[in-house]
Symmetry: C2
Amino acid sequence: MPLIPIVPLPSHSLPSQIFVFPSVPVCLQIFIPFSFSLSHTPNTLFLIMASSNGTTSGTGSPCGACKFLRRKCAPDCIFAPYFCSEQGPARFAAIHKVFGASNVSKLLLHIPAHERCEAVVTIAYEAQARIRDPVYGCVSHIFALQQQVHISFI
Amino acid sequence: MPLIPIVPLPSHSLPSQIFVFPSVPVCLQIFIPFSFSLSHTPNTLFLIMASSNGTTSGTGSPCGACKFLRRKCAPDCIFAPYFCSEQGPARFAAIHKVFGASNVSKLLLHIPAHERCEAVVTIAYEAQARIRDPVYGCVSHIFALQQQVHISFI
């Protein structure tokens, strides 16, 4: 499973535009049966991508989210493009536990389609971090990075 | 409203123990009618504390969470200790929108009581960040800090 570092843009970029994913433009443009998530070493957050042998919505099999929710997967299922891998149900389980399917669905519906892939990646990262560390969640990563920045400026 | 920087412990600390809140130990020990949240400048995450003139559960008035949910505030309300300020309903609204009251309630019930204050602070921070930036949420802060760390090591 390759680790693809997320590459920063110049520091004058807006927060929501700070990073692009140059190695995975397809992820940002079209829907493909990839599984992905954000992970991190002590220093860097990575976008993990893996080929998938999962199924997609519309082919008869439900997506990972609908499999987890034990419901019929509609052709226009908001989750299908992002949870169609074999790991889809497990990944969605974390999101469902922390955010709730309904909240994430509403959130995604208010985001332009071409930005939803990145939103799902960051939501999945936050959910996994909160399950690992129920008190701090991904804020522990922020604290750790602040400490590094603090040390580097001493 | 004072800004209280969160002070790092030595780098060999575990992620969930990296930071303590030395100026606000009372927040971690007993329940007080404070309002609090995490905010940040480009460099540092802060714990914002403000005196409250709000009400607490058990005095007849519902806590901010129950006010928002328009329900009776039970004496053992899980939210009451953390949303009893005047800003309580607004702060809870963000958490409710992003995580859902039920999910946060379940999460808090699985955390030891003395750690719930910090959990609520980090959950509120994540919720506010996700509302500000629906695509990246607080992960944009992680990206920005990674960029600073990257630059400082060049």
